[in-house]
């Protein structure tokens, strides 16, 4: 559809002919599903008992997802709803792109509440002059990610702003999912004694982005860990749903910030062991070079689970059997002491406080 030099113009966002062409030829082509194809002002989705029917349609359309076989929405199922905006720069990076991030990020927010993600909306704010080929690449990536995850993109919007008013491309995604009855997860539900299980290596996404930024370039075997985690969550919840008290994905601010948030909301203390936290060598090295701490670096394909102690080993085993949890590890415990504080036991055996990130972590020379 696109020639190499085609660029997005302001007219593409004005609602006229060019806008329509863009929607038909780009968005509809990739986000191909009957709901979106209606192109009504809203996507009309069946809820309640009709959910089964929607699922049936999903199955016909080939969007089979393992979780849909396991979790059957009941009359007292609840709706989970979330939104997030994505402004990452550069928009393409090893392991993903802003589109994949936008789909996975919202899927993961739903998954952390125990929801089965079903539908997403996607709003695009495009800088005038963005190459059409770049936009197509992002959209194709979103479609592929959504399809593999069994999620449909059913509503969207496009705006184009003057050159210089948006850093190439911003994307907002909102997402809706169903939380089965009986699933109660929350940042305020961690309990003393809970095991804290991390699904894999930390710092991969943030250091990959950092490595692409101008002035901080280095060649490395780093790639973003961007991934949809609802399958991993479903696998974990299958073990003993009641034993999982809280799930969080440590995105901006890193693992340390997420742990502090839970410690604060649940009014508990947290103790973690530095030695048990999995970090790739390349991430460690990149952090050392720039003076950054992996504990504060963003992740886009990891989760941390607070699990009743008797179920910890079973949950760990189940995680490690899943493609996104191979390097899962128990990294610490929840305690009744020092409520609201996270304490790290360093590799040397000393204990220190692990605080939350304030502002951005910047590379330092000192």
């Amino acid at each position: 559809m696109t020639t190499g030099n085609d660029k997005i113009l302001l007219a593409h966002g004005s609602g006229g002919q060019l806008s329509h062409e863009l929607v038909e030829r780009l968005f509809l082509r990739y986000f191909d599903n009957p709901i979106l194809a209606h192109l009504d002002d809203s996507a009309v989705l069946e809820v309640g008992g009709g959910m089964q029917e929607a699922r049936g349609k999903k199955q016909e359309a080939g969007f089979l997802h393992p979780a849909s076989r396991i979790l059957h929405p009941a009359p007292d199922a609840r709706l989970a709803f979330t939104t997030d905006s994505y402004v990452v720069s550069p928009i393409f990076f090893p392991g993903g792109d802003i589109g994949k991030l936008a789909v996975c990020g919202t899927i993961n927010d739903l998954a952390m509440s125990g929801a089965t993600p079903l539908y997403l909306s996607a709003g695009f704010i495009i800088e005038e002059g963005l190459e059409l080929a770049a936009l197509e690449r992002v959209v194709a990536s979103m479609a592929a990610t959504a399809q593999a995850a069994g999620v449909q993109i059913v509503a969207g919007d496009t705006k184009v702003v003057d050159r210089g008013k948006a850093d190439r491309l911003f994307i907002n995604t909102a997402g809706v999912g169903v939380v089965p009855a009986g699933v109660e997860l929350g940042g305020d539900r961690a309990q003393p004694g809970d095991a804290i299980i991390l699904s894999g290596t930390i710092g991969d996404h943030g250091m990959t982005i950092m490595s692409q930024r101008e002035g901080l370039r280095f060649d490395s075997p780093l790639a973003s860990d961007c991934a949809p985690l609802h399958g991993l969550v479903a696998a974990v919840m299958e073990v003993t749903p009641q034993a999982v008290h809280c799930l969080r994905d440590p995105t901006r601010g890193g693992l340390a910030t997420t742990l502090n948030e839970v410690a604060d909301k649940s009014r508990v203390g947290i103790e973690i062991e530095e030695d048990t936290i999995p970090v790739r060598d390349a991430v460690r090295a990149a952090c050392e070079l720039l003076g950054l701490d992996p504990l504060y670096v963003a992740n886009e394909g990891k989760l941390v689970a607070f699990v009743a102690p008797e179920a910890a080993d079973a949950v760990l085993t189940r995680m490690q059997a899943h493609e996104y949890g191979r390097e899962a590890a128990i990294i610490g415990r929840v305690t009744a002491e020092h409520a609201g504080r996270v304490v790290l036991r360093t590799a040397l055996g000393a204990r220190r406080i692990l605080d939350m990130l304030v502002g951005e972590q910047l590379p330092r020379i000192c």
Partner: protein, 110 residues
């Protein structure tokens, strides 16, 4: 001042070099260490090598520390004091082991 990391020089081209640490490679300047060669470890600070690591000295230092270790067979376990407020250090029993003067085993005492 402060942040300088040891990395291995994998190639040299004029006054720049490729340096590698933990699988991460970066181009650095050898303007301050023109004597550095492929195979050397250098300390990198803000994209420059500021010194070449003396690998023999590194090994010697570790060897001396191992020697010291032999004088203190009882492991000092910080974790024996879990209930201490974090800001205080534990009161460890003073060991009766012989005193190994650390500084005399260090090179270059002025």
């Amino acid at each position: 001042m402060c942040l300088a990391i040891p990395a291995l020089i994998t190639s040299v081209e004029g006054t720049t070099a490729r340096a590698e640490i933990g699988g991460v490679e970066r181009t650095i300047s050898l303007a301050l260490t023109p004597e550095a060669r492929v195979g050397d470890y250098v300390l990198i600070h803000t994209g420059f090598a500021i010194g070449v690591v003396d690998e023999e000295e590194a090994q010697e230092t570790l060897r001396l520390l191992e020697e010291l270790a032999e004088f203190y067979p009882d492991e000092v376990e910080v974790s024996q004091f879990p209930n201490l407020p974090i800001s205080q250090s534990p009161n460890l029993p003073i060991s009766q082991s012989p005193n190994l003067p650390v500084s005399q085993s260090t090179n270059e005492v002025h």
